[in-house]
Symmetry: none
Subunit: 403 residues, 2 copies
């Protein structure tokens, strides 16, 4: 299936907003075996929308996915332009209006008249639901090409794609492409590549993709023959097993929480340089409260000493960023919260605060359970944001491998 | 000046790489007063490049900036296709070849023959230099439209834009466009719109853009007359001042940390439903340690009682998600950490755990300083992720407005 993505929004063209929607949609659509032929981004302008719809409806594609401009403010013109493009008559949907009224009431607002446009359906097209917001999607057909229109708010767009568009595309695709995703962390892409490239399966060679991010590298293998790619996966796994935390699409906090639940273990964390990010990630997983009791963010030395009971002498002798303090933090948080595991982070997140002996990016991670008390040292980069993420990933992976 | 950006690359369409080039170019070009009319992204395919050049050379624009496909591997076809599109004869540039030879020698390599394509100039177009790499840029003219072609490697593209394209555009631009961004939170887009739309400045009306996200709504005003848009900003401000936290592009944690620093105040937080996100956000700001001492993540009732000293009776009588517990959490964290301000969150993040009287999305936020102890109740949505973000935004905004 050949698909074009049309994103509408002045904010995309002015550079105010990066076009993550086109990227997200393309990644999702490629992964289910469709081919993206074109991205077009245009302003919220009638002539531009019409010209580009004309253009797209005259190309060799099967589906146009269009996002943006379904809101209620006067720069949101997509719905009106598309209605007029297809000569649609407006049908006011009383039930949906009542639903919106109720929803707004719950938040303590009365529904403004400007929302009326969102309760209108076309007489010659279809609408589809938005699980997170008030702007529903639109579906039209022309020249054997389907047009699906979604709001531009990423969370809403994604939810609508997953519930409506993805199943629709998957059903229509003739040659199914199977994909297996292998998630790794703690190894650079080029080293990983060296370890994987010699696996002797030439016919599958070009079906291996490497997708690095600050969380780690995903290795994605794809092909029409499920048996062959399963075999390839096993071969790759044998070479890089120690870096793998997931075969599939779950993230590290999800697989860790599952493993902890299965082993009936609980965890608490004492965070300095990560500042709460580990707790935030663990509580992104629904039901995480069964294993995550909580923790402390001890950002200042004072709070490390007074709240977490870190020895003043250790801080004085070795500094707050040291093996000794990381170990004490992990042990003390475990004891305070009475959990099976205690973890800790202390480091120089940057951009300031570094020195020759303790440069920005230096991080110690502590781990304590009933049997062991350990510490690991990392040297990350100079970016604060990536140091925090890499540290949180190192901690979660540490626990995942230890239990 | 009207500009289209044409990005070429299979990796952009498959979703493997996010199109940061189009975004970066647009931001830079907007900031010097040009108008981006279109982004097009196409694969490394001859027919697609030719069709889209035909299309762009027939539109009402002044400049096409094209990136990608100038490298030396066999999927880099842009240079060849453009030479054939313009019927260019290849002129081998001996001086540039000698320059490249020297450059490679310096790094200890002999120059591979595959680099020959990069030492070729067109007889009917121009080349321009690449301060960071070996692929030079190309310049052509057709139908009064200029085409500038750059490599896709972001660092090279940026250096070439700054040294050649930016000065070229600035010289040709007649009217500069000014922009002011107004950042709000705690008010839905449609309600905000109702409050802004009646401001009686018709001539500026269409220069107001609304950019909603889960963090709030940005209102962006733009125009050629700085005085007029300043006046418009003041008028808008008068109508929605209570929801504004920033005139500019800083986020809420940045402006809050600055304000706290200025007032020499410190803050600590007791997080239940946000699970560490508030701490994470405050520690994203470099130098935040001056005002943020730390906090506790008390996710379980046990940790609320044992670590934070919440009264068991309050939890039994009112539940952990209650006004009483939020107030106690804020007061206790302030006292424990000895900060000027203590804040707290307790709520039902979802998707599970809701009931009729306490549905998913119910959140209490506590605030305590030396003079006041207050609590606010919110009803957010059914998505765990957005509930956490909205709660953290509500807390930061609460503090920002109180101090």
């Amino acid at each position: 299936m050949r698909i074009a993505v049309l994103t509408i929004g002045n904010e995309l063209l002015s550079g105010k907003t990066i076009n993550t929607n086109a990227n997200w949609l393309s990644k999702k659509l490629s992964s289910i075996g469709s081919v993206i032929t074109l991205h077009i981004t245009i302003p919220d302008e009638q002539a531009s929308i019409i010209n580009n719809l004309d253009l797209l409806f005259s190309t060799q594609i099967d589906l146009i996915i269009c996002t943006g401009g379904l809101g209620v403010t006067d720069d949101d013109i997509t719905r009106d332009v598309i209605f007029s493009y297809f000569g649609s008559n407006e049908v006011f949907d009383k039930d949906y209006w009542a639903f919106l009224e109720n929803k707004f009431l719950k938040f303590g607002y009365s529904l403004p008249d400007s929302n009326k446009s969102q309760a209108v359906s076309p007489d010659n097209g279809k609408v589809f639901s938005n699980p997170l917001g008030s702007a529903r999607g639109l579906i039209y057909e022309k020249n054997n090409i389907t047009l699906m229109v979604l709001p531009g708010v990423p969370s809403e767009m994604k939810a609508m794609f997953d519930s409506t568009i993805s199943p629709w595309v998957e059903e229509k695709i003739d040659s199914k492409i199977f994909q297996i995703n292998i998630r790794t962390t703690g190894i650079p892409e080029s080293i990983l590549f060296e370890k994987v490239k010699n696996i002797d399966l030439e016919e599958n060679y070009h079906n291996i993709g490497y997708y690095p991010s600050v969380y780690g590298v995903d290795v994605r293998i794809a092909g029409e023959d499920l048996e062959k790619i399963e075999k390839l996966k096993d071969d790759i796994r044998a070479n890089i097993d120690e870096y793998i935390y997931e075969i599939g699409d779950q993230n590290l906090e999800e697989v860790l929480i599952k493993k902890l639940k299965k082993k009936k273990m609980t965890i608490s964390c004492a965070e300095s340089c990560t500042g709460g990010l580990i707790g935030h990630r663990l509580t992104q997983v629904p039901g995480g409260s069964e294993v995550f009791n909580g923790g402390m963010i001890t950002y200042s030395n004072e709070s490390k000493i007074n709240q977490l009971g870190i020895t003043l002498k250790n801080i004085e002798d070795f500094g707050a960023v040291s093996e000794q303090v990381a170990l004490e933090m992990a042990e003390n948080i475990k004891n305070k919260f009475g959990t099976s595991i205690g973890v800790s982070t202390t480091g120089i997140a940057g951009p300031g605060g570094g020195s020759k002996s303790k440069p920005v990016g230096l991080v110690y991670v502590g781990y304590c359970d009933d049997k062991s008390l350990k510490v690991k040292r990392f040297n990350f980069s100079s970016s604060r944001e990536s140091n925090k993420i890499r540290t949180s990933q190192a901690v979660l992976n540490y626990v995942f491998k230890m239990i």
